[in-house]
Amino acid sequence: MVVFIVRRLIETLAVLIIVSILSFLLLHLLPGDPVASMLGSDAKPADVAQLRHELSLDKPITLQYVDWISGVLHGDLGKSINFRENVSTLIGQKLPITAYLGFLALLVSIIVGIWAGILGATRRGGFIDGLISLLANVGMAVPTFWLGILGIYVLGLKLDLLPIQGFTWPTVNLWKSLGQSVMPVFCLAVPGIAMLARQTRSSMLETLQQDYIRTAYAKGLRERTVVYKHALKNALIPIVTLLGVQVRYLFGGAVLTETVFNIPGMGRLLVTASFNKDYLVVQGCTLFIGVVVCLTNLIVDLSYGWIDPRIRYD
């Protein structure tokens, strides 16, 4: 167990280093002069030299990386050209919004996805199963941004039920916040619901064929107990694996949903920065997301033994 944890930690550290190198190269592999394209063509030579020095671009590339990474480890991701603000401060401002919506979406996709998957598995081959499979297939294929626009058009503009854009914290205005969150959270959750429903269904179908399930039925236990207590627990491993993947997709989904619904989170920060060639922001966001995903994967891997005590790490 300890050996496994240590090995997994070393592996994660190696991956984190490569993630940081990739993010570093993002700026330094830019064709042409990044400083010139950041400051524009009418920049003063003194400013150019200053920024070049700040970014350590006047040193050999290995030293540049060392300088950069030691800055990063101290929370210094550089300064945004457009926002005139530290990149780490910007991420600190935008991340809570993305994390809040992402958390709600994760919650929705877990509840709805697993429920739908169980429903499909226990009614295998029936109408409900077919309908769930169809919806799951559509959910995996539907473009997130298009779904958002469809929602804005039908629910927002035609029926006037929900606000079509913006973000409010629930502590500021609960009703407004809820209204504004419904569509973005739904759009973010749809791919997750679809994936979890499919995974839960097939995982449950496999588990429901096991001998101990038949035994549980034979003992006269109610279907509810058999399904939720005996089967679901044992079908949980592939589902948890998928949850790790979800975090990655939520960041990806945030890029699109936050653009459609005009939410000032990290996804939109990344898109705005991409448009403005605000490279340090792109670099900082990419690095941050990569690190979060790596750490989530680590947690998921380490949690297997806790979920299923039969799993031995050796």
Binding site: N137, F251, V255
Partner: protein
């Protein structure tokens, strides 16, 4: 001697046909898979015959008839420059096919090669390649693709390259796992012991046996690649706006949603149908090729 030859023929011949027949039977027995095939066929035919099928050239402007509602002359109406929406969707299929084929081919070839080499040689080669793949996998595909597109700039070629890199790690992972398992087979040891080179073993013994799982992933990824390109074009970072792509049409049409909602909604339906079709066919392949399901369906 003759007896052996005859008996081999008897054993061999029906088995081959039955395996292929089983594949076709499993594939065609599910209407959703057939539906997927039909959609893909329509997509390919539309892309090939676009100039003959489209009622108007995709970039022909008619400034006297801008943002019109659907009518007899323009089935889905016209956009802000008076271009026929239906014709532009038809031409958009070409980019979809191009992205699906080229980006996925790129990802599959490079990713497979990485997984193959890592799985076959093991040791330091494996550690370096697989950790690199893990690192690529840490980024959500759309973020990775966005970052690469920013780095390289937009344009068709760069978008294809970016999507290719974004999809690459999955192939590396899959291939690596497959090779690790396949390497244990006796026929690999046998091939090595009669002096087959590493290259020969990798390409003639391991690769063909890993192919079924790769075929499934390739099919599913065609849809993913099309979805990625559409997302990138929607954000406005993709292919040049003069080329009709479904993603950018959703984006541009969104501004006129109250005048003609079809401008934004109809290309999305095209994306949805095509991605759905590739997913359904990919699932069909999985059911037909998965050895664990053999005999059950």
């Amino acid at each position: 001697m003759t007896e052996i030859e005859i008996s081999q023929d008897i054993v061999k011949a029906p088995k081959r046909t039955s395996e292929f027949r089983r594949f076709v039977r499993v594939m065609s027995s599910r209407w959703v898979v057939v539906f997927g095939f039909v959609i893909i066929l329509i997509l390919v035919l539309t892309a090939i015959f676009a100039p003959f099928l489209a009622p108007y050239p995709p970039n022909q402007q008619d400034l006297g008839a801008t943002t019109q509602n659907p009518s007899q002359a323009h089935w889905l109406g016209t956009d802000a420059l008076g271009r026929d929406q239906f014709s532009r969707i038809i031409f958009g299929s070409r980019i979809a096919i191009l992205v699906g084929v080229v980006a996925v081919a790129l990802a599959a070839i490079v990713g497979m090669a990485m997984g193959l080499v890592a799985g076959y040689f093991g040791g330091w080669v494996q550690i370096v390649i697989m950790r690199f793949i893990d690192a690529l996998m840490a980024f959500p595909p759309i973020v990775l693709i966005l970052a690469i597109a920013v780095l390289l700039g937009g344009g068709l070629f760069n978008v294809l390259l970016a999507i290719g890199i974004g999809l690459l790690p999955t192939y590396g992972r899959l291939m690596y796992g497959q090779i690790l398992a396949l390497k244990q087979n006796d026929y690999v040891t046998a091939a090595g012991s009669i002096g087959a080179s590493n290259t020969r073993i990798m390409f003639f013994h391991l690769l063909p046996n890993a192919f079924p799982s790769l075929l499934i992933l390739i099919t599913l990824n065609m849809g993913t690649a099309i979805l990625m390109e559409a997302s990138l074009s929607f954000l406005g970072i993709g292919i040049s706006p003069s080329i009709p792509t479904w993603g950018s049409m959703v984006n541009v049409g969104y501004q006129y949603i109250l005048i003609n909602p079809w401008l934004s909604l109809s290309p999305g339906i095209a994306i949805l149908l095509v991605v759905l079709a590739f997913n359904l066919v990919g699932d069909g392949f999985r059911d037909a090729l998965d050895p664990r399901l053999r005999g059950r369906i």
